[in-house]
Symmetry: C2
Subunit: 209 residues, 2 copies
């Protein structure tokens, strides 16, 4: 069995992902973690601190592998610019591959990100804090791949990308209903190639000077 602190984080991650911060009590989390309520306050300062630690546990690693993916794409083009599709692939593929390969470990965290990205309350603040340094690096690469593009077009294109990516993270089962079972929310392998293709075409259309 994992150490208590890890078990609490696992339980909190899953419950926050499914019901939101306010929709879950410390008591529910600790029941799922099979530990006493008071231990939550030994290992974490407060419910809010617990939430922050859930967020922080995985975010650095995710940003690292995506930065590495971008650097590798750039290394493959010492004398010219990578294509839009390569850059977007470096942004989305590492995330989606993790999810496809180890769904149990990553799915709840991704669902949490999906909720936060679409939360009018503090979504903008949290997403910017955790991801914008990396995103700016990608936007710069896209600027070079799409010379003379209007920056506004580029930012709105990224915004569309972000919405498409995080709705995929949410795995709500809606596409299962809509398609009559032909597509499955959890079938991430089906999205890995489709997403960069779809989004790159959008970028090229909107950002052609």
């Amino acid at each position: 069995m994992h150490p208590t602190r890890e078990r609490i984080l696992d339980a909190a991650e899953e419950l926050f992902a499914h019901h939101g911060f306010e929709g879950v009590s410390i008591r529910q989390i600790m029941t799922k973690a099979e530990a006493d309520v008071s231990l939550a306050y030994y290992h974490f300062e407060s419910k809010k601190d617990l939430f922050d630690q859930v967020m922080l546990r995985r975010v650095e690693y995710l940003n690292e592998i995506r930065l590495k993916a971008l650097e590798e794409v750039e290394k493959r083009h010492p004398d010219d610019e990578p294509t839009v599709e390569e850059i977007i692939g470096a942004f989305t593929r590492p995330l989606l591959s993790l999810l496809a390969e180890d769904h149990d470990q990553w799915s709840h965290y991704y669902q949490l990100i999906a909720q936060i990205n679409n939360s009018p309350d503090r979504g903008g603040e949290l997403m910017s804090r955790y991801f914008d340094p990396l995103v700016s690096r990608f936007i710069d690469a896209l600027k070079r791949a799409l010379p003379d593009s209007d920056p506004e077009d580029l930012y709105w294109s990224y915004h569309f990308l972000s919405g498409a990516l995080t709705l995929t993270f949410a795995e709500t089962g809606r596409i299962d209903n809509l398609s009559g079972g032909a597509c499955k929310s959890t079938d991430i392998a089906s999205v890995i190639d489709r997403m960069p293709a779809f989004l790159a075409a959008g970028f090229r259309q909107l950002c052609k000077h």
Copy 2:
């Protein structure tokens, strides 16, 4: 002053949109509505019923105007098929135009939709219930505009559309941060033309034969 029932719905809509179902208490809603707590239970059965009534109040009208927009596009093409961009415009423009023209009335409802669409808990069920009849109608039109396309490609394309659209509804302020103020979440006029252009290019790329 509006009748009490309307004031409760207005207050609930705004607070649910910002903090989620569990993040808001009946007490907070009734304080905002300037009415006594017990009146919530005179006008509605329960907190959950209040939430359902908030959802139902506007959904039919939205689906109506979008169906009308699609029918008009089709009328303009008695002898051929409308373009992908026309169809997607009929899906997104009526919504975005309402939001741009009467932001105060619609913004909170749209933020609620954004949250629900990305909620792993009951998002798939609710979105399918309220919107899939209309969406299926649009998917059929897209099938005719993109003959021989793989249905899976079409459904995933719609999924990307849905994520991009609802993140726009969320108005989280993130694009304000990321762009250093060059773009604003609430500047919907900037998105009305960009969104169909971006998304139609994605559909055409992914669903070509």
